[in-house]
Symmetry: C2
Subunit: 539 residues, 2 copies
Amino acid sequence: MQEEAQRVRRRDLLALIGTMAGSAAMYHAMTSLGLASESPYPGPIRLQGDPKGASVLVLGAGLAGMTAALELRKAGYKVQILEFNGRAGGRNWTLRGGDRFTELGGFTQACEFERGLYLNPGPWRIPYHHRALLDYCKRLGVALEPFIQLNHNALLHAARAFDGVPQRIRAVRADFQGQIAELLAKATQQRRLDDAVTTEDQEILLQALKSWGALDQNYHYGANLTSAAYRGYATDPGGGLAAPAAPSEPVGLSDILKSRLWRYLQNFATYNFQTTMFQPVGGMDMIGKAFASQVGDVIRYNSKVTAITQDDRGVTVTYVDTADPKDTRKDTQKATQTAVADWCVCTIPLSILSQLPIDVSADLKSAIDAVPYAAAVKIGLQFKRRFWEEDDAIYGGISYTDLPIRQIAYPNTGFNHSGRAVLLGAYLFDGANAFEFTAMPPAERVARAVEFGAAIHPQYPAEFENGIAVAWHRMPFTLGCSGDWSEEARGQHYRNLCRIDGRIVLAGEHASALPAWQEGAILSALDAITRLHERVVKT
Amino acid sequence: MQEEAQRVRRRDLLALIGTMAGSAAMYHAMTSLGLASESPYPGPIRLQGDPKGASVLVLGAGLAGMTAALELRKAGYKVQILEFNGRAGGRNWTLRGGDRFTELGGFTQACEFERGLYLNPGPWRIPYHHRALLDYCKRLGVALEPFIQLNHNALLHAARAFDGVPQRIRAVRADFQGQIAELLAKATQQRRLDDAVTTEDQEILLQALKSWGALDQNYHYGANLTSAAYRGYATDPGGGLAAPAAPSEPVGLSDILKSRLWRYLQNFATYNFQTTMFQPVGGMDMIGKAFASQVGDVIRYNSKVTAITQDDRGVTVTYVDTADPKDTRKDTQKATQTAVADWCVCTIPLSILSQLPIDVSADLKSAIDAVPYAAAVKIGLQFKRRFWEEDDAIYGGISYTDLPIRQIAYPNTGFNHSGRAVLLGAYLFDGANAFEFTAMPPAERVARAVEFGAAIHPQYPAEFENGIAVAWHRMPFTLGCSGDWSEEARGQHYRNLCRIDGRIVLAGEHASALPAWQEGAILSALDAITRLHERVVKT
């Protein structure tokens, strides 16, 4: 009764605050009551104070660079961006039919996807707690749709388990959890938890394990309609006289343990991959394009930075134009051009920046050199039809395998449509597999993805049409997927990397605690320009 | 190596089948290899044989009735449908601004939702394994989008636990699972599972529990960055110099057990509610409208059936027209009209049918009378803004509470938009609460939903604009939500309910093993007309 009174008082209090003071005050009160979490994004940035005509040169028109440019210009700065590629977005990138790109080593791929189909070779999902990115999507009018991370009906596959037959996630999950619950219920009933759990709690624990493990009334997990309600049926319930359902046979705990398929069960529950995730409608590059619609007028494309110098009065960046079709010389033979500004926000990936002459302190230079870049390969495959939906009832989500392709991720849009579709046929990151695939010519990467995928989806060979393979270590503008910080390097170099060095400050996912995430790039840029602006306004 | 060889042989075999025989043969082979599940929907129905001009009268233009009409007409029958309401769809229904309806007892509600917003008062989600419904959506061109059932960031609330403060699903889930894993790991290490698990498996079990429970290297679940990667952080990782993340403090197992919040954790994993679920874009009634676009020309609306008779030659149904605006008499005083046909597919809910004179065997009549109808109340609330997204980062999904409202379900469309939105502010089914709310005038139902909801979302009072409340026991066309079969009644009456009785056969969710699901209605209709057609073609 005391709790009831407390609850009512709390509710009345909050209602009163809401009525009297509006939602902002209410939200403040609610936060202090423990409901809201602590995001590092407190809402739209406010750069107060007059920069008095100061100029900023931004290097890189990825999300970090464009965030910096957008907000600095709004705060009164003169802003210019130099961008290596002929497009904005950087790793925020979407490949569609007709797109072409050339990787280091000279291989050029032409995307042959049917109109309307695409692959996001870089970032492809947005967690609900990436508040900055979601806020920019809202402000810039980027429409979002759910990205399905966990699909209970997708597959877990281990080449050496279950005769190579993939298992449904729902079945492995229910069977593992059910048999764990049964083991613990048994231990509880045998009084083996007496030293850890009170007798009162043991009573409730047994109820909880029964509910949570889909156990029968004897606390046993078996082949019955209770377990079928989680793992699925041998025959689904139907209509009319065809109605009766038949339970399915669980997989034994020992088989699950030995298969190692349990390794995948927690993927879906990590904070980074929890529901609700999003993707932009039409491709991830809708975000890059939305930013470019705001700052595109200050971007100078096809500008390859060759050196960065600074002195007391400003920053000078030299670059070459790589786009002139009449200029057939190598980049190193071309005449350099020069851009100058009072300040510089440099978002060039460290993999590239570490190879450039740059006029910074030894500490920052050491930090720039301290971060290797992760390898990653993504392969998009176009098929004649959505056989994963039509034959296997897999709508979106991800199947996991211990084959080199690692994942098969099904499209999260156009559900239940007829006709062609593109899935992500391989997502290799780190490790020998990623390097091995990076070393192959693109056509071979695609062929291998089809071959391996056929072990999971036998429809592959008959339905495959074309594919494209992005090996990030060979992409000239990043030479890798993302900054691969070791704990040790982070301890030694991270703060040095982020500190303003004279008139230069670095930003990008590599300068964040969220490596490889777009949110890291944006938060890094917001933090960098906040500190830069403070310095400018003070001086 | 032997498994490897087996796997390769299996893959080669399947690839060969695929190449040689195409995808149908491949799918057959795959099914026999154990990949596909056994759906009671084998694909589009094929009614072969000439019905020789036979006529069928269908009672009810819900999904069962319209499925029967569509397929029977395609097979060559003369079909007519009598429908009680002035619209097709039955419980497949969506309320939008401008809609009005009157419930038993005389209360009329006018929906005041802003244009584009809606409530699905009946069915609102479609599981991926409802193959028949999904196939009709595909054939009839109904666009689908994901329905988010599990949102890790939504709330679990118990009035008497945690001082009434709602808990994030992610935190309760991670903390329960982590502490279960810790208990079992401890028992394993103390050799207390030796009688149940082999020593070899115990080794792997410990690894699995560590991964699956987010345990630290000592198999302990605690406040650290490992648990934070599942339950969430006190401070999220950020960018630049604001980067460091702070772990959060788990809730103790005893508190979770006593709170009973564990009761909700398995909801999301049931076969019926697993990912990927769907909803039609724009409202559930897009399905009813799509069916009506096929069979609308044979529907006679506003036709209230008053009696059903049959003899050796056919079926005669009397009904009254309830729509004539000039006719102000009570329905019972109106002149009855008559419809005749060779056969009748009756989809009238048993709650209504049991009150009508109907010319059937005593067994069928007993079956019709044996099924009470479940009470259910759904309340839609319009708010000025999506405060659950903007303030609380809750995008779609469902929060659960032990307050009478039971659930708050957030809209699964228009994510991240500014402006007004409608959420499901209460979903009461069965039990005293549903009856209590059914007994209230609609305005009071809405007011109570706002009052209770404010205990979970303090923003409610300041942001609420208008609401609508559908109490299914008071809806004249169903007098309840769905057939509420007891195990005993099903054992005694179900087959009698589904058998063809002379020239009449029943269909609808009540004549299926999937009560309250649209799939049950459709599968029931397909089974009924398959048997009816067999009889017609034989005679």
